[in-house]
């Protein structure tokens, strides 16, 4: 490597490593997010549904006996006003109004998932207590396989989000900062090669990228058993291509602004839609069909889909060809436009 390129790359590492905040946000933050989400959405034994019973006292006692016979329901007798307050504040999911021995009324918010679940469980318990027997014999088997849990879904999304954030910030911020300080202009006054200056960002990004992948994938495999079913080399290639695309997008955003404030506005404008639409925390399939072509064309959607295909399904690069093509198109397009617009002073 030429000494000038080596010095530029070293400068990138020094400036990054001597900024503790940058290290935290780009390397430690995704891990913390994984821990938080892993704990919040870990698979727990089915929860007990809390309900209240009101109404005619003989009927109430009867209902409570029937309800508490079910392991899935916890029922208590409350005065009318207290029961309705508890329902409004969400402490209980449903109120059973026992109007008579064989007449029950369920009060609940039918738009809430937990209330609808409570309705099914409560009704089942009440009907059984009333003597219902099932005409069809049913048995069940529980399947909790790594790969289908929320944590398995979210880790590739976080990896993709990290690639985007670090690519756009990691290149956009130092470039705009150097322009603001007059440093870009100062470099232009030396024989420095512009290509080497840009290459130094690419090289330092790739080095950090490897660390990012190892940390996040390694940590989530150890702590949560998140699977890595595809080839690690191919996963790294997908990440590298994604990093190039997001780096080029960062370079495009940083092509002209003279202030860090102006650039951060543009960066947020570029990243916000992808945080929401590109399937980081929940599937992008949730959005209306009409905007799906737009969502599928976003680089982060393509990166996330390709990462999930590799990690969760063990798919090879051939399977994610369309996604790779979208990512490559973003890289080439952004890079060419960025070079045209770039203000070297």
């Amino acid at each position: 490597m030429r000494d000038s390129l080596r010095q530029l790359v070293l400068t990138r590492f020094r400036e990054f490593g001597r900024e503790p905040e940058a290290v935290f946000w780009s390397l430690a933050f995704p891990i913390l997010l994984t821990v938080g989400l892993g704990i919040a959405f870990r698979n727990r034994p089915a929860e007990v549904v809390h309900v209240a019973v009101i109404g005619d006292s003989a009927a109430v006692a009867h209902a409570i006996t029937a309800l508490n016979a079910s392991k899935a329901v916890a029922a208590e007798h409350l005065p009318d006003a207290d029961a309705r307050l508890a329902l409004r504040t969400g402490r209980i999911a449903l109120v059973v109004n026992a109007r008579g021995a064989n007449r029950m009324e369920y009060e609940y918010d039918e738009t809430r998932d937990d209330a609808r679940t409570a309705r099914l469980l409560v009704d089942d318990a009440i009907q059984r207590g009333g003597g219902r027997s099932d005409p069809v014999a049913v048995s069940q088997r529980f399947i909790r396989e790594p790969g289908s849990r929320y944590i398995d879904f979210v880790v590739p999304g976080l990896l993709g989000m990290g690639l985007m954030g670090n690519g756009i910030w990691g290149i956009g911020f130092p470039v705009v900062d150097a322009r603001r300080k007059g440093l870009l202009k100062r470099f232009m006054a030396t024989p420095m090669s512009r290509a080497e200056y840009l290459a130094s960002f690419v090289i330092s990004r790739f080095a950090l990228l490897i660390i990012e992948i190892f940390l996040l994938v390694g940590f989530s495999a150890l702590a949560f058993g998140v699977p890595l079913r595809g080839s690690f080399i191919e996963l790294t290639l997908v990440c590298a291509l994604g990093a190039l695309a997001f780096g080029a997008l960062g370079l495009l955003i940083a092509a002209r602004p003279r202030t860090v404030e102006g650039a951060s506005g543009l960066m947020n404008l570029a990243m916000m839609p992808m945080w929401i639409l590109s399937g980081v925390f929940f599937s992008s399939e949730n959005f209306p069909r009409a905007i799906q072509p737009f969502i599928q064309a976003l680089p982060l959607t393509a990166v996330n889909d390709a990462l999930r295909a590799n990690m969760l399904r063990g798919a090879g690069l051939g399977v994610v060809g369309p996604e790779l093509a979208i990512i490559a198109a973003w890289f080439v397009g952004c890079f060419l436009i960025a070079l045209r617009l770039f203000r070297w002073r």
């Binding site: 010095q7 070293l10 400036e15 202009k185 470099f187 006054a189 030396t190 420095m192 002073r345």
Partner: protein, 308 residues
């Protein structure tokens, strides 16, 4: 004598504002040449065109006989440039910064040599962010010196520095020049131009309005000294009577004070005191100083360098 820099009929406008207007200059090899003028006179625009950082609207620039559109790479390697208001990266140390700049040049001094040249040996391992203003400016000059340049361009090298730091920087520039290298600098400090420069071009509104050695420019005033005074009360002496005093060549008024330029202080001061006595005017302040480039600028434009 060979030519280090030649500027012919240079023009540059920003929108409607003419920053540089038909400017011609020749700087000889081995001299320290100063562009002196107030802020906004077009000094920075001129020097940045010479440095190949700005394109002129019209006119030609040759540095060391080379042109920016043909021999940019050779020129970049042959020049040392310090810009106004560059903030070097705070996160790097002094020696890391010099090493980075050194790596851009095909040949040049070693990192240690340059750091010794600007007397920052003790700070070599310190972060740039911890340096004082004067030390940062010396580091900026160090970055301009790493390629062992034939021509050094300095844009307002001592603006905002304390007197001691200015002295240190002046010595540094003089040492560089003593090796037969060429220095082109801009400044709005007349004392800096007088101290450092072999020749000075006084620039105002994008034009060269005077060009000579500092001594010759001052001599062109036709007077070596300036006598300033104020009197009590609202009456002031008559200008014609003052002009008639011994040794006086010119009279002008400045913020309520009167300034006389004089060829002979020992004649003018007693004559002035006698005249005021006779007019029953009481002196409240009297100053004298040797004429400077500031006085040259004032006599040429009617304005001061600082507030022009």
């Amino acid at each position: 004598m060979t030519t280090a820099l030649e500027i012919r009929d240079l023009c540059k406008s920003y929108g409607d504002v003419r920053a540089v207007s038909h400017l011609d200059l020749v700087v000889n090899t081995g001299e320290c040449f100063g562009l002196l003028g107030p802020n906004g006179a077009g000094k920075t625009t001129t020097i940045e065109i010479c440095e190949g950082l700005l394109a002129p609207d019209s006119g030609a620039v040759e540095v060391l006989g080379m042109r920016w559109d043909r021999e940019e790479r050779e020129l970049r390697n042959a020049l040392g440039i310090q810009l106004q208001e560059t903030q070097l990266s705070d996160k790097l140390t002094v020696s890391e910064t010099v090493r980075l700049f050194r790596s851009f040049y095909a040949r040049g001094l070693t990192v240690d040599e340059v750091i010794a040249l600007v007397q920052l040996e003790e700070k070599a391992r310190s972060r740039v962010g911890t340096l004082s203003g004067g030390q940062k400016q010396r580091l900026a000059v160090a970055c301009a010196l790493v390629g062992d340049p034939k021509v050094l361009f300095l844009d307002e090298p001592t603006t905002g520095l304390d007197p001691q730091s200015r002295r240190q920087l002046w010595e540094l520039i003089e040492r560089f020049r003593s090796h037969g290298r060429t220095v082109v600098l801009t400044t709005h400090y007349m004392d800096e131009a007088e101290h450092l420069c072999d020749r000075v071009a006084i620039v105002d509104q994008g034009r060269v309005i005077a060009l000579d050695t500092p001594r010759a420019l001052i001599a062109s005033l036709g007077a070596e000294h300036v006598v300033g005074f104020t009197v009590e009360g609202d009456r002031s002496p008559d200008d014609d009577a003052l002009r008639a005093l011994a040794g006086v060549t010119a009279v002008r008024h400045e913020n309520g004070a009167t300034e006389l330029t004089s060829t002979e202080l020992r004649l003018t001061v007693p004559a002035l005191l006698g005249h005021l006595e006779q007019q029953r005017l009481r002196l409240s302040e009297l100053t004298t100083h040797s004429a400077t480039l500031e006085d040259v600028f004032v006599s040429l434009t009617g304005r001061h360098l600082r507030d022009a």
